[in-house]
């Protein structure tokens, strides 16, 4: 009696382990960190790309407008791929695009924009990558949708047309 009880429980336990492993095999193994939302924008100041002026974040982002902060770099290949979408987004009147030029060479960055067009209303320069860390970025490209001085949405990796439609619907 006791023996059978142990037999069945051990078989049951191993069956459960089996099914969990079986399910686990079919799971995606790519890890995306959870995104913290509704976070206030960091308090920081930054140099601008075309002038040497230093400007505070609070002067850039005001309470009314939607802002789209895009972290990019001339050496980053996916940034090049998403650039057309940024150009398209910049035609929208309801949103202002802010570029954060990440660990880049100023000349290269300017060449990049000359070649592909400049979608940004303002471009911040992040030579050492500290500002990107302040924003909580994990890599380039990465974008943040900002409203009322808060990050309401975060996009890891390059944009695509679907995401662009979503962004446009969010800012209506």
């Amino acid at each position: 009696m006791k023996n059978k009880f142990f037999l069945f429980t051990s078989i049951l336990i191993f069956l459960i382990i089996f099914s969990i492993f079986y399910k686990g095999l079919h799971k995606q193994n790519i890890y995306t960190p959870s995104v913290k939302l509704n976070k206030k924008i960091p308090e920081y100041s930054s140099k601008l790309l075309y002038t040497d002026k230093i400007i505070n974040y609070s002067e850039i982002f005001d309470k009314e407008n939607f802002y789209f902060l895009n972290i990019w770099s001339s050496w980053c290949v996916p940034c090049r791929a998403e650039h057309d979408l940024l150009m398209e987004l910049s035609k929208n009147e309801d949103i202002k695009l802010v570029g954060l030029n990440y660990k880049d060479n100023t000349d290269n960055a300017q060449k990049f924009l000359k070649e592909l067009g400049n979608p940004f209303n303002i471009i911040l320069v992040d030579i050492d990558g500290i500002q990107a860390i302040e924003w909580g970025a994990v890599g380039v490209p990465e974008s943040f949708l900002i409203h009322k001085k808060k990050v309401i949405k975060k996009y890891i990796g390059p944009l695509d047309t679907n995401l662009l439609i979503q962004i446009k619907s969010l800012i209506k």
Binding site: N3, K4, F6, L7, S10, I11, F14, F18, I20, F21, Y22, K23, G24, L25, H26, K27, N29, Y31, W75, K103, N105
Partner: protein, 626 residues
């Protein structure tokens, strides 16, 4: 082309011999008094088939025959011949073929070495072995054949992961596999002995050999892996609690426990359930290791391929074996009636039993730490990672009583014992605490934890040293192994306490000065080697007490595939290792420089060698007595 076909058909023939062997053993099991000679010849033939297959894969690698898919994926013409050959088992398909080779070899040796054992037991063990072998044959032929063709034939291969281009790593998998696969014999033998009711003292002394063999290879295999991680991965550590390391540690823990249980069984015919369950778990844990590493359910340096089909196959195979053994255990195993109440509180077997429970506790910590993240991910989609603090916090406190029982246990007698030399045992104990207090006091570390562990380890250390002098030549294997273990814990603790590290970014010509060390970055050189480009930094390190030393850490940029690896420059002396690595910082002239001083590194390796030496002595000792 030709060698691939030969290899493939040899595998098919090997599978056919497996089926024939099962047929013959079933026939022989019922009929005969004598072993059917066909069983022996087909086991031998099967081994010949598998080794033919393995050699043809070696030839394909040696000749860089890129019509073979495995060679194409894992080799390159510019690779040195030694690594071309090591590439045979540096990938999923080839390593499985190696596993199969060892499996058939061990089966053959088992058959040859057990002429004195009962016939039914031999045949049944062969039958179980063949079930495992068939499982591997089908797995290789169906899902991971190393002999697939590619057409048109590519001109160049894709190269071998350069992290794996290391002489230590070239022999690490074969040694580890000898350990893993040795446990398959223990598994089959324990099952058939259970079925036939043969769990006896005689069986214990026969299977002890196999347990020792497996244990020695597993110990050395883990050591090699750990040495490799230290030299090659450039993190300056030797154990990272990486899931794949844990997966090799778990069978080791079980085997060590099994080894001690077998000793008890051999003397007293108790703990039979322990022995059977441990024998089963050793092999199933080795198999789960293969499953976890090969299925891609874990991501680590060891993961070769992420192919769910392979994972599902191993999973089903593994669990069929588990269910088979559970059923056999419950239906056939009968406990001896005398077994239950025969433990006296103060005896050698009680001490072994207590430490067995500690071992099982360590095993469950490692098992939970490895498997729980997978479970949690599947059930709740939550990702967690379990790191060293988890293992350290749960294992370290329990090491102290474990070490003390390890010291006292061997001094006790079987069945019933008194503590002899009480005064000695107690005075050594206080002496250890005193010494440990004097050491720990001078350093700014967690006082209580370090004090207790170092006392525990020192206690075992002094007791075993004392034994070498008073009980000459008696049970040397145990003394050496236990002494090695105390040395291991001590070296790890001292390594941990005394280690120091400087991490900085430097460019050529710069100097960094801390309170007691001065690092000068002199120069940088580039060289082109056969299959990589090397960047060698040249540093001078000056400390207050020692004279200046030159360090030349290296970065290697491999061409196929393009991977950057960092080769540490390590200066080893008896007392400390000095360890320096460089790394590139993105888009700048700067290099990330990491300089570590790691005392007693070499003692960690030496103590593990001592532990396995204990096993080796025990393995050969029985021969003399007979």
């Amino acid at each position: 082309m030709l060698s691939s076909s030969i290899g493939y058909y040899a595998l098919i023939l090997g599978l056919i011999s497996s089926l024939l062997l099962i047929y013959f053993s079933l026939l022989n099991f019922r009929d005969n008094q004598y072993l059917n000679t066909k069983i022996l010849s087909f086991t031998f033939l099967q081994f010949i088939f598998v080794i033919t297959s393995f050699i043809s894969l070696i030839i394909s690698f040696a000749l860089s025959d890129f019509s073979n898919e495995t060679v194409f994926n894992n080799s390159h013409t510019t690779k040195p011949i030694f690594y071309k050959l090591a590439g045979v088992w540096g990938n999923h398909e080839g390593s499985l073929l190696l596993w199969l080779l060892v499996l058939t070899l061990f089966t053959l040796i088992f058959l040859l070495k057990t002429k004195k054992q009962p016939l039914k037991y031999r045949i049944l063990t062969i039958l179980f072995q063949q079930i495992i072998i068939i499982g591997f044959f089908v797995f290789i032929i169906k899902t991971s054949s190393p002999f697939n063709y590619i057409f048109p034939v590519p001109k160049e291969g894709l190269g071998l992961n350069p992290i794996l281009q290391d002489p230590i790593l070239a022999i690490h998998p074969p040694i580890l596999y000898l350990g893993y696969v040795g446990s398959s014999i223990i598994f089959s033998s324990a099952l058939s002995a259970t079925v036939l009711g043969l769990i006896t003292k005689k069986w214990a002394s026969h299977i002890k050999k196999w347990v020792l063999t497996s244990w020695i290879f597993l110990t050395l295999g883990i050591l090699l892996g750990s040495v490799w991680a230290y030299y090659e991965l450039g993190w300056g550590g030797f154990w990272f609690w990486d899931p794949v390391e844990n997966v090799s540690l778990m069978p080791w823990l079980v085997l060590t426990t099994l080894l001690h249980c077998i000793l008890v069984l051999q003397k007293r015919l108790i703990l039979t359930s322990w022995v059977i369950i441990l024998s089963i778990s050793t092999f199933t844990l080795s198999m789960s290791g293969t499953f976890l590493v090969r299925s891609g359910i874990l991501n680590s340096v060891h993961t070769f391929a992420n192919d769910p089909e392979r994972g599902i196959y191993i999973l089903i195979f593994l669990f069929s074996l588990i269910f088979l053994s559970i059923i056999i255990f419950f239906f056939f195993h009968k406990k001896n009636e005398s077994e239950n109440e025969s433990f006296f509180w103060l005896s050698k077997e009680t001490a072994i039993l207590i430490n067995n429970w500690f071992m099982m506790y360590f095993l469950s910590v490692v098992l939970i730490g490895t498997v729980y993240p997978i479970f949690l991910d599947v059930i709740t989609s939550e990702k967690i990672s379990v790191g060293p603090p988890f293992y350290h916090k749960l294992i370290i406190p329990f090491l102290v009583p474990f070490l003390i029982f390890m010291a006292i246990g061997p001094k006790l007698r079987w069945i019933k014992s008194n503590i002899e030399n009480k005064i000695n045992l107690i005075s050594v104990f206080f002496f250890s605490i005193l010494i440990s207090f004097l050491i720990v006091r001078n350093f700014n570390v967690n006082f209580l934890i370090n004090l207790t562990i170092i006392s525990g380890a020192l206690y075992l250390f002094f007791i075993t040293i004392r034994d070498f002098f008073i009980k000459k030549n008696k049970n040397n294997s145990q003394k050496i192994a236990h002494f090695g273990f105390s040395l291991l814990i001590l070296s790890i603790m001292f390594n941990n306490i005394f280690s120091s590290e400087i991490i900085t970014n430097l460019k050529v010509g710069e100097i960094l000065e801390t309170s007691n060390t001065k690092i000068t970055f002199n120069d940088i050189n580039q060289k082109n080697e056969k299959n990589y480009k090397s960047i060698i930094g040249s540093f001078i390190i000056e400390t207050k007490n020692e004279k200046a030393e030159k360090f030349k850490p290296e970065l290697r940029i491999y061409n196929q595939p393009i991977i950057i690896t960092s080769e540490a420059d390590i200066k080893t002396t008896l007392l400390t290792d000095k360890f320096m690595t460089i790394n590139v910082v993105q888009n700048q002239d700067y290099f990330n420089v990491r300089y570590q001083v790691k005392p007693f590194m070499i003692w960690i390796w030496l103590s593990v060698i001592l532990i396995s030496l204990g096993g080796i002595i025990s393995f050969f000792k029985k021969e003399y007595e007979k």
